[in-house]
């Protein structure tokens, strides 16, 4: 005979896992610069070319979704992925491995990968987006930033 208590506990586990995970996935992925602890980072600490705005793509080993990030950014910039990789796009895309640059991940409060951060030429953090970006939304954000 199936215990009602056990059924209730099982249902709670089911609901908690699904709802909790869904809530976590759909919480606001974008955090504005005002929410950042570090509003500006010393440009010499950044992996991109100094004095230029850049998109920092935080990745980690074996991160599956991170493989899609360059393609989505290229789509947002309306350039080929090859052009983006070759540095011929309006903005540089710099990959940051969190295992090698945990300091940057900490400064930008990177909690998961992939995370995309927009950084201005003087190291000002413009936005941080968790997960892969929607190309249209990213394009709009970059236009507002007057990049691309």
């Amino acid at each position: 005979m199936i215990g009602v208590t056990r059924l209730a506990i099982a249902a709670t586990v089911l609901a908690s896992a699904v709802l909790g995970g869904w809530t976590y996935r759909h919480r606001t992925p974008n955090r504005s610069a005002s929410e950042r602890q570090a509003g500006r980072i010393d440009p010499s600490r950044l992996p991109n070319e100094a004095g230029q705005p850049a998109l920092l793509a935080f990745t980690s080993p074996l991160c599956v979704a991170c493989q899609r990030t360059p393609g989505l950014v290229a789509e947002a910039l309306d350039v080929g992925e090859d052009e983006l990789t070759a540095g011929q796009a309006p903005i540089e895309l710099a990959k940051v491995d969190v295992t090698e640059r945990g300091d940057l991940a900490k400064a930008l409060d990177v909690r998961r990968t992939p995370t995309l951060a927009g950084v201005g030429p003087e190291g000002h953090v413009r936005f941080v987006h968790e997960g892969n970006p929607d190309p249209e939304a990213l394009a709009g954000r970059l236009r507002a930033w007057e990049v691309g």
Binding site: L7, I9, A38, D42, L62, L104, A105, K106
Partner: protein, 152 residues
């Protein structure tokens, strides 16, 4: 054009995690450690002996994959296999607590482990969230010294 990476269909492990969660929850609801033993066997075979002995993956390829379109991305096989191995360890520990050690520890301890496996598997199956992966990022952050910050 993006070069297609080698790897597995990421929907396969999620299908397997759904089956793992179902079996673990069924074992708990029916109070049937035998089902946990079956689960341990399946997880152990897949993680230790490799993909050929992964019944979940074979079931996915035979029953589900023909109904779906090709995957947009491919996944490295190591993380799902690691997760399967972890599940095997947890379920085996639960079996030990419910079996040989039943006289020394309360039954809820073993079932709590089984429910943990079910919860994490459900989380991964329904949302794709990999708890281990996210912990990994946090550990890397914790291990690093902070970058120098300049006044805004």
């Amino acid at each position: 054009m993006t070069q297609r990476s080698a790897g597995i269909d990421p929907r396969g492990p999620r299908f397997g995690q759904a089956l793992t969660a179902t079996l673990a929850l069924a074992a708990f609801v029916l109070e049937a450690p035998a089902l946990l033993a079956v689960l341990a066997l399946l997880l152990g075979a897949g993680s230790v002996l490799g993909p050929r002995f992964n019944l979940w993956a074979r079931s996915y390829r035979l029953l589900v994959r023909p109904l779906l379109s090709p995957p947009a991305t491919r996944e490295h096989p190591a993380p799902p296999r690691f997760a399967m191995c972890l599940g095997f360890v947890f379920v085996s520990t639960a079996l030990v607590l419910l079996g040989p050690f039943a006289a020394y520890v309360p039954a809820w301890a073993g079932w709590a482990l089984a429910l943990t496996v079910a919860g994490l598997a459900l989380l991964a199956a329904s949302t794709g969230i990999c708890v281990g992966c996210e912990l990994y990022v946090r550990v890397q952050r914790w291990r690093s010294r902070p970058v120098e910050e300049v006044p805004a």
